[in-house]
Amino acid sequence: MKRKIVIALAIYSVVFLLAGVYVIRTIQTATTNLDRLITLHQVEILREHYLLQIKRVQADLTLIDTPHSRSFDIVVAHILGMGRIIDTCFDCHHSPRGTERLNALKKQTEIYKDALSRVLTLRANASRLAAEEAAAFGIGEELIAQVREMIAFTTSKLGESTQKAMSEIERTKYFLYGLVALGPLVSAVLGFVFILGLTRPVKVLVESTRRLKSGDLDHRVVALKDEFGELAEAFNEMAGSLKEQLQKMQRTEQMVVVGELAAGLAHEIKNPMAGIKVAMSVLSEEAYISSEDKGVLRKVVAEITQLEGLMKSFLNFAKPQKPRLEPVNVNQMLNTTLTFHLKHRAVGADGPGKIEVVKELGELPPTMADPTQLQQIFLNLFLNALHAMPRGGELGVRTCLEEDGKTIRIEVSDTGSGIREDLINKVFQPFFTTKTKGTGLGLAISRQMIEQHDGAIAVANRPGGGALFTILLPVKAEGAAA
């Protein structure tokens, strides 16, 4: 978003800068044209003045040797003034054609001045004087004709230049009108787009917050981009975390309930049950009891023993033991448990299937853990794996040290049918089980123990079939806080 705003503002600024440059350039051009027009008008005036001056000199010439003739100094001043005007014309910039015309004019002026000088200095008979005056006058008339032609030429040029300058000024005027009209419009559109770009994500986030508040912890913010996308991601993480915390709280509440129940059961059921069990055992040893009844009594005793196990599990789950940490070699613990488990399975195996054990144990550092609890966790996972493979399969056990060097990864996999996707999130819930004789506390207790070790456990289905349990245990050095 920030980048978009910067780019948009940059484009906006560049567009306005270009427009500004164009306006300044156009104004400069218009000013130059106006200057040129003024100069052309000045030149026009200058040429008119020049023409007047020539006519004045012609008048002086005509009046020579008459009672109205002007003094020599005045005539000379008029002629010099005429020469100065034509010299002034050369100070301006002219096109090559204009310069050529001016040069011709200058040359003709010089010829005229020569003729005038001759008339002014000559002393001869009347006919010679008249001839010289006539010649000078003729040259003057030619000069007047040339100047008139030049004035006509520049007048037409002046008209064209005026038209051109006015057209440019008109064009600039329309462009400025366009800018005045479009500028606010473009600003408004851009502003609207920016506001929309800001308010829409905010609205989405507010709406999501409200849904979260109403208890919809599964709601996630989607389709937001840039910085708002990052905010949405953080929001989603927060929602996930809230859900997790809520589930933990729910579990804790369940634990409290189960604990109270277990305590009640222990207190209210366990002792009478122990009495019943002892009584049934004694009774089953009596001689007068038929063998058929003895079988029933032994069955009762067996059921009571099972109930006692259940009660023990309850108590373990509801009031878990605090881990007693000591340096543990996880690989060695796994090996021991697996050996014990396989031996136990060999004695009491349910199915005929052959289990192949695949071990890939990486080098692990010793870590502080409760070996009894770890053994119970591993045993629980192995039992689950074997249960998932009634017709045999492959039990995988892998360990490694994570790249950060601070976490031990333990994976237990099977090649069974896996866990249904709709149930996979419930396997760690207490009393959830897919077994006919299960208590539904094994995995719940396992997770509880792992979390007491500051670790985590997760389950996923393997792509090739079967389930994969992953335990992450932090490496704790001896002497570190539990």
């Binding site: 010099l80 001045k113 001759r118 002014l120 200095t121 000559l122 002393r123 001869a124 008979n125």
Partner: protein
């Protein structure tokens, strides 16, 4: 007796000494802020002004005295203008200076040395080559163009030529005479067949010949005058001596100043040199040869 005589002589001498009065010194004008300088129409009057204006500007820059040029339609006017127009000085031709010195008492300061290292000029009498006029006899019934009655080259030389060839009344001898006013016009009038014979100064003749080859090709010189000083700057004798000295010094040293050198190049001279009245003796003698009385000479053109 002898003692008495001695005493009487001494007393007489003493009385004479006491009674001798110095000629009144001319009243000096206060230092002028602006000098009016006249120009004779040696060539086209406007070109003449263009030639001298940079020089006047230079003198103004160096001396602080504004110099205003006044072009004159005729050579003789320069003498009149000293009397009537309050002119302070002028660039005089040799004959006009001789006249003005005699009539008004102007004093010469300096004159330029031309690019060919000469500071004098002489007059020429010339005709077209194809006119077949080669002698005074051949001039009979022809048209003669002079420059001005107040020029050495343009009038004194022809007078001297007529005089030495025994022509006492040239107006009756020639078909027509007139005054072109400038040396340049006199030369061109002969070249362009407006006149048959002309007289002008050699410096103008040579300058025009450089620009127009027809002059050397189509004209032929029949006679020449003695060398006389080139046009020189002369001031009224009542001009402040310190200003006169400053102007003279500036002119004489301007060839040593880079700015002055540029002005000289533009003017067409190498430097200015000091000029004295004695250098005009040639003109006085030349006028004397043809019996002209300078103090009574009528310099006005007919």
């Amino acid at each position: 007796m002898f003692k008495r005589s001695i005493t009487a002589i001494v007393c007489l001498l003493a009385l004479l000494a006491c009674s001798r009065q110095e000629p009144p010194a001319p009243a000096r004008k206060p230092a002028a802020k602006k000098l009016l300088i006249g120009l004779i129409p040696e060539q086209n009057i406007f070109k003449q002004m263009e030639r001298y204006e940079p020089l006047m500007e230079y003198l103004y820059q160096k001396t602080g005295t504004k110099m205003k040029l006044k072009i004159l339609p005729r050579y003789g006017n320069i003498v009149d203008n000293f009397k009537s127009s309050g002119m302070d000085g002028a660039f005089f031709g040799s004959f006009t200076y001789t006249l003005a010195h005699a009539k008004v008492g102007v004093e010469v300061l300096a004159r330029p040395v031309a690019l060919d290292n000469t500071s004098t000029y002489h007059g020429l009498i010339f005709v077209r080559k194809d006119s077949h006029i080669r002698t005074a006899r051949g001039m009979k019934g022809k048209r003669f163009v002079f420059v001005d009655k107040a020029t050495t080259a343009g009038y004194l030389l022809p007078l001297e030529y007529f005089h030495k060839n025994g022509i006492s009344n040239y107006k009756g001898y020639l078909k027509e005479t007139y005054f072109a006013g400038t040396h340049e016009d006199a030369i061109y009038d002969v070249l362009n067949r407006k006149a048959d014979i002309g007289a002008a100064k050699n410096t103008v003749f040579q300058r025009l010949a450089k620009a127009d080859p027809r002059i050397m090709k189509e004209l032929v010189v029949l006679d020449r005058s003695p060398d006389v000083p080139e046009n020189a700057l002369a001031l009224r004798n009542d001009i402040d001596p310190s200003l006169r000295s400053r102007l003279k010094e500036t002119l004489l040293k301007m060839n040593l100043d880079p700015d002055g050198k540029k002005v000289l190049e533009q003017f067409g001279a190498l430097r200015f040199i000091e000029t004295r009245n004695e250098e005009y003796d040639t003109v006085v003698k030349y006028a004397g040869d043809i019996h002209l009385n300078l103090s009574t000479y009528d310099y006005k053109n007919d």
